[in-house]
């Protein structure tokens, strides 16, 4: 075997890996329907698809965590048997899971050594493991301290530990399951540098994502899965983002929703000089003032942790203000409890939808009446009216196109997009006067994101005053009429949409004063 067949880690390359006719059935779902997929040495093959399209299932089969009902896997043209992660590891396949498979209380070296035979028999050989980790780290340009505990590391560093773990086990082919979902933009760039280096060295990489711009940037080929079917494979150079989006969703997708013309009405919600504390004991909001009008979306931009959460919680009554006033349609709601505020037709789509937006172990129908369960027709004299509740649930499931086996299904068994639709349905079916939407599309796939945005715009048309809190600047720019930028609990500036550019908002988000921005732009 010639030198060029070897990877820097000393392992032999996997020239080709093929999955043929892979079929996997779960109770009630065909997760993978005769899917073909292949990866070559020296390429990044992106696997695209919406949540629940079958990407993870396919890769878990390749890694030996699931067993396919039909189909075969071939490495360099020869069929192989993969019935457990041990088999796939021995064949040179490594997987970086979406949720890191690391033991937080153990060191990097311990995590790497776990499950491997030791050179010292029953005793661990962590010194030797550490030495090899440093060797590999140098070969691949991954900086890591083998004696550090996982809980001490940043998310990006933890991901590097996962990559080292796979390389240590001799992975020639690496599956990266949504590796960028948890990273900051800078960390994504660093990951891409590492990925490019690995590909140059002869590794094969499978890159799973639903972020189109990343896929287009890093991959050589792209395959699209939809509802367990392989829609097709193309060279990245020969596709566009629009094609890919349409392919994934199965219809035309609009990247910029149609906002339409809406007449701005009277002020619905006024925030006057509001301050409050935060969970860390530091000030959360410091004298925030703004108003939102009927038929208007006010975007709240800012880097996470600059008071967005506190803002949502003070308006909804979940957090006490320390000073200031909140006026909802001419009545002072400062200090009222959340139920009283809700009754004045204020709806809330919370940021942590699984924690604050619903009860995971309740059924879809129960979750839909969480807000109104004490009111007729859903209950009378403390007795629930189950027939009304069922009819209500069925109507919302239909109107909001929620994909659920039934209204009696537990919410936790639905996909993220459908869970958000339940929250959305509950919050907006009653045509609220004010809506607080916090990170309403975070973690959702393209189809669900599009749907949520359409619904918010529809509410705007109906005359609702909407506060949209989002860390996604594209979303803020696409939906808002005006944009307020929060920085360290203060509103830096409120910019009308037509005057807002990502550059300008970025400077405000970094705490640069509006006057200074004006001065700089005058210089140019």
């Amino acid at each position: 075997m010639s030198e060029s067949d070897k990877l820097p880690s000393g392992r032999t390359r996997i020239e080709t890996l093929e999955m043929r006719g892979i079929t996997k059935r779960f109770p009630g779902v065909l997760a993978s329907d005769h899917v073909n997929f292949d990866v070559k040495s020296g390429e990044v093959h992106a696997l695209l698809g919406e949540n629940g399209a079958g990407k993870s299932t396919l890769m878990k089969i390749l890694y030996g965590l699931y067993h396919p009902d039909e189909g075969e896997v071939l490495i360099n043209g020869k069929p192989v048997r993969i019935s457990s992660p041990n088999d796939s590891i021995n064949l040179g396949i490594g997987m970086i899971h979406q949720h890191f498979m690391l033991v937080q209380t153990m060191t990097v070296a311990e995590n790497v050594a776990l499950g491997l035979p030791s050179s010292r028999g029953v005793l661990t050989d962590l010194d030797r493991v550490s030495k090899r980790i440093i060797e590999l780290a140098n070969l691949y340009g991954l900086k890591i301290d083998p004696s550090a505990y996982i809980w001490q590391l940043s998310v990006g560093q933890q991901q590097r530990v996962e990559i080292i773990k796979a390389l240590y086990r001799g992975a020639a082919l690496l599956i990266l399951d949504e590796p960028t979902a948890v990273l900051t933009p800078q960390e994504v760039d660093e990951l891409f540098v590492i990925m490019n280096q690995m590909v140059k060295d002869g590794h094969g990489l499978v890159f799973i994502s639903h972020k189109l711009h990343e896929v287009v940037e890093i991959s050589h080929r792209i395959s699209v899965l939809r509802d367990g079917h392989m829609i097709g494979t193309r060279l990245t150079a020969e596709t566009t983002k629009q094609d890919l989006a349409n392919w994934m969703v199965g219809r035309e997708v609009g990247f910029t929703p149609d906002r339409g013309q809406v007449q701005r009405g009277a002020p619905r919600l006024e925030i006057k000089n509001v301050s409050c504390g935060s969970d860390r004991g530091t000030p959360g909001l410091r004298g925030v003032t703004f108003e939102v009008c009927s038929g208007e979306i006010l975007g709240i931009a800012g880097v996470s942790g600059n008071g967005q959460r506190e803002l949502a919680e003070t308006i909804t009554g979940l957090r006490k203000t320390t000073s200031g006033q909140i006026i909802l349609e001419d009545s002072d709601i400062t200090g009222l409890d959340p139920a009283a505020i809700t009754d004045r037709m204020l709806s809330y789509i919370p940021e942590e939808r699984m924690r604050d937006g619903m009860i995971k172990d309740f059924t879809v129908a129960e979750n839909m009446i969480l807000r109104e369960h004490e009111k007729t027709p859903y209950s009378r004299y403390g007795f629930l009216n189950l027939r009304e509740i069922s009819q209500h649930a069925d109507a919302l499931i239909k109107n909001f196109r929620i994909k659920t086996p039934s209204r009696e299904t537990h919410a936790k068994n639905l996909s993220g997009g459908n869970i958000q639709k339940i929250v959305l349905a509950r919050e907006i079916f009653r045509t609220p006067h004010v809506i607080i939407a916090a990170q309403p599309t975070r973690g959702l796939d393209i189809g669900a994101t599009e749907y949520v945005r359409e619904q918010l715009l529809e509410q705007r048309k109906q005359g609702a005053a909407i506060i949209l809190i989002s860390e996604d600047l594209d979303e803020i720019l696409a939906l808002s009429d005006r944009i307020a930028v929060l920085y360290e609990g203060q509103v830096m500036d409120i910019v009308p949409r037509v005057e807002a550019t990502p550059q300008k908002l970025g400077l405000l988000m970094a705490g640069v004063h509006p006057e200074e921005i004006k001065q700089t732009s005058e210089v140019f």
Binding site: P85, V103, T105, E110, G115, L116, P117, L123
Partner: protein, 310 residues
């Protein structure tokens, strides 16, 4: 008189019996620690101890062979562990509840066997004191540490061994990983089920020895419910010791010294109501747990059944 407590002889006596009384705590709690480190909460320790105590006593009584008795207790404990492992690993039962079930089974079964096979309280001659040559002649120290029965020495050997296994071996690495993040262990080809079977059976075996140490080394009798909550205190000691063998040793010593103190207070007829005296170790358990437990973190996967999936 209360002043009787403060003589050297009594003091040495309290310490010596304190060391001796810590034996069952150590065996049971270290066994339990292995289980908990791997993510399994076994509340059946008390039941395993009772059956172990009976098995050891009955075999020793009928055959006159203490070692055979000890072996039987280990076997009975291991079988109880096997059953517990099947219920919690394969059937994925709620661990707290099934543990209580195993406790009640052990309690009832040991009493039933006692009624059917013996009927009356009898005594055996338990493991004798072994005076370690040289060391046992040191004044006071010798009597406290080096004139104990063989199981006491085993129990104290177990502490460094448990620490070594958990921290220095590949097996220990697997046990810790399975208790913290079974998905991670599974993804690296470590069998979560096998590791947990091992720790639960080991825990059962050690609980069996803990029971035997009561019936054929410390008290040398068997009575209905003779453990009287000792197994549950062993579970508490694991929390108290923050899942570390050395911490468990500290806890075991604290409780057995208090126990020893109250026994001596009764022996010396110090005017404290015996109910209050007997209560002392339990009250201390609660107080110490309240004071310490919030500060330490349990293994993340403790009492959670493992199922491969998303």
């Amino acid at each position: 008189m209360i002043s009787d407590l403060f003589t050297v002889t009594v003091f040495v006596g309290i310490l010596a019996s304190g060391i001796r009384l810590s034996t069952p705590y150590l065996f049971a709690a270290i066994g339990e620690a292995f289980g908990q480190k791997s993510g399994v909460l076994n509340l059946g320790v008390e039941g395993q101890m009772l059956l172990g105590a009976f098995a050891a006593f009955y075999v020793a009584l009928t055959t006159g062979n203490l070692w055979l008795g000890l072996l039987t207790a280990m076997l009975v404990g291991a079988l109880m562990g096997l059953a517990m492992a099947y219920v919690t690993v394969n059937l994925q039962a709620e661990q707290g509840i099934s543990g209580i079930g195993f406790y009640l089974f052990g309690l009832g079964m040991s009493d039933l066997l006692f009624q059917k096979l013996m009927g009356t309280v009898e005594t055996v001659k338990g493991f004798p004191k072994i005076h370690i040559p040289g060391l046992s002649d040191i004044p006071y120290i010798g009597e406290i540490f080096f004139s104990q029965n063989i199981l006491v020495y085993f129990a104290y050997l177990l502490v460094p061994i448990a620490w070594f296994v958990l921290n220095k071996t590949t097996l220990g690495l697997k046990i810790r990983a399975v208790g913290e993040n079974p998905d991670a262990a599974d993804s690296l080809g470590v069998s979560v089920a096998r590791v947990r079977y091992f720790t639960i059976i080991l825990g059962g075996t050690l609980s069996g020895i803990a029971g035997a140490s009561l019936s054929i080394a410390l008290l040398n009798v068997f009575q209905q419910n003779m453990t009287s909550g000792l197994g549950f205190i062993a579970v508490a000691l694991v929390y108290f010791g923050a899942w570390r063998p050395i911490g468990i040793l500290g806890g075991a010593l604290l409780f057995s010294f208090i126990n020893s103190l109250q026994l001596w207070m009764q022996v010396l007829s110090i005017p404290v109501p015996s109910d209050i005296a007997v209560m002392m170790p339990y009250v201390v358990t609660i107080l110490v747990l309240v004071a310490t437990v919030s500060k330490v973190r349990a293994p993340s996967a403790l009492s959670k059944p493992f199922e491969r999936g998303d």
